[in-house]
């Protein structure tokens, strides 16, 4: 049952030290905490749930799958354009581009063939390079299966949120482990259900979107989003 090879790949790509710039994105944690809307572990767990259930599961996961089963680069780009069109907040789009392009850049330097081909398309179109689409490319290049790719996508989001909260002093390091454990159960429950194959990507995280969108107007800001 236990696939050692696949598990080791998960450990490498899911490591929060994987060098794709994830540490610079708080996806709303910084903004909400600056506005006193996030103080402590209960709030953080709610935020992680909101991210997972109302954005990641309905949006990133759908886009990841589309890009994962895409037969060619054009089909990947189509998923990417859908990501662009389905993300109304300019700052969320920008964050997704920056995180996606950073992740892609690492795979390009590692010699991933799909990553190299897709990167060439990116230079011609600034709207391409959204994170979930790039995750599909990178994990395909790495020979990681779709089920595992979903885990990586969801889990790297969770660790990013929780570690941002630690750095911002919202929670301590022990609480962080409790939040991660809670998030594991949330992710497990979401993954137990498979979305219909024709479902359109969507999200409903208004508080998070507003917090991220207000980023550029904040004087004090340590994170990209």
């Amino acid at each position: 049952m236990f696939d050692t090879e696949a598990a080791l790949a998960l450990l490498q790509y899911g490591d929060s030290a994987y060098p794709a710039g994830g540490f610079a994105f708080s996806w709303g944690v910084e903004g909400l905490s600056a506005d006193d809307l996030l103080s402590g572990q209960v709030d953080l767990d709610d935020l992680v749930f909101e991210h997972l259930a109302f954005r990641w599961n309905t949006m990133d996961r759908i886009l990841l799958r589309r890009a994962f089963i895409a037969a060619d680069l054009d089909a990947i780009a189509a998923a990417d354009r859908t990501a662009e069109a389905a993300t109304p907040s300019a700052q969320m789009r920008d964050g997704s581009h920056r995180a996606g392009r950073a992740l892609l850049g690492v795979s390009v330097r590692l010699g991933g063939s799909l990553a190299i081909a897709y990167r060439a398309m990116l230079s011609a179109d600034a709207r391409l390079g959204h994170l979930p689409v790039v995750q599909a490319i990178v994990y395909r290049d790495a020979g990681i299966g779709f089920e595992a790719a979903q885990l990586l996508s969801g889990w790297t989001l969770v660790t990013g949120l929780v570690s941002a909260a630690v750095r911002l002093g919202v929670i301590g390091h022990i609480e962080a482990q409790q939040s991660l454990a809670t998030a594991r159960h949330v992710l497990e429950a979401l993954l137990a259900e498979t979305p219909d194959s024709d479902v359109q990507p969507s999200s409903f995280t208004p508080l998070i979107d507003i917090a991220v969108s207000r980023g550029p107007s904040r004087h004090v800001r340590m994170f990209s989003t």
């Binding site: 710039g21 230079s123 790495a142 004090v220």
Partner: protein
């Protein structure tokens, strides 16, 4: 794993990348502000990246300085990890530099100011071709003796604010000598960014060691 990843040679890097690290307040931004006109005067096409810690203040300060086209100044947020963003995980800085090269194809040199630290930061060789570490006289003449990785391993150690020596009881010659000693005689330059002293020597070294000119 179905296929193994094989490292490829990085795409041709057209612009040299020079890191500027050092403690908060040692004068990194002041040095950048001095280097911009001095490099331009020698006909070198440049761009700048800042890694501000908490605000975009350094990027804004350089953009508003009138010294350089504001579009050539990029800010990269460090998520409260000023070391990580230049060392363990420099991808965001690499992407920002690649982007500047795409937008300004003629750019020859990109200066990359770190967010500032204590004495422990170093730049990844994947990010920079050359890096300088800036400390200042006001921090005391014992700083070189403390042998932080930045002091020891940088390609050039810059000791800034030489004008402050009399006020903080620092013997500049001794500080210089001790810095050379802990660095096995690798370059140590003295600057006063307030008055623009010592800047030409910094530009000389960049031209010679980084751009392979002159």
């Amino acid at each position: 794993m179905k296929q193994m990843l094989t490292p490829t040679k990085p795409a041709r890097i057209s612009a040299a990348r020079v890191g500027i690290g050092g403690p908060v307040g040692s004068g990194k931004t002041a040095l950048v502000e001095r280097l911009i006109p001095a490099l331009m005067a020698r006909g070198i096409d440049i761009a700048v990246i800042t890694n501000d810690l908490v605000t975009a203040e350094d990027a804004e300060r350089i953009r508003r300085s009138g010294l350089i086209d504001p579009a050539r100044v990029s800010a990269v947020e460090a998520g409260a990890c000023p070391h990580t963003v230049i060392r363990e995980d420099p991808t965001l800085n690499i992407e920002a530099a690649d982007e500047l090269e795409r937008r300004f194809p003629g750019v020859e040199l990109i200066l990359l100011e770190s967010g500032g630290d204590n004495l422990a930061s170093t730049f990844s060789r994947d990010l920079t071709d050359f890096w300088m570490f800036v400390i200042d006289v006001g921090g005391g003449d014992d700083i070189p003796r403390k042998r932080g990785p930045g002091v020891i391993r940088s390609d050039v150690l810059v000791i800034n604010k030489t004008d402050l020596a009399p006020y903080v009881g620092v013997d500049l010659d001794r500080m210089h000598r001790e810095a050379l000693a802990v660095r096995d005689n690798r370059p140590v330059l003295m600057t006063n960014c307030r008055r623009g002293e010592g800047i030409e020597a910094v530009v000389d070294i960049i031209e010679r060691e980084v751009l392979f000119r002159a």
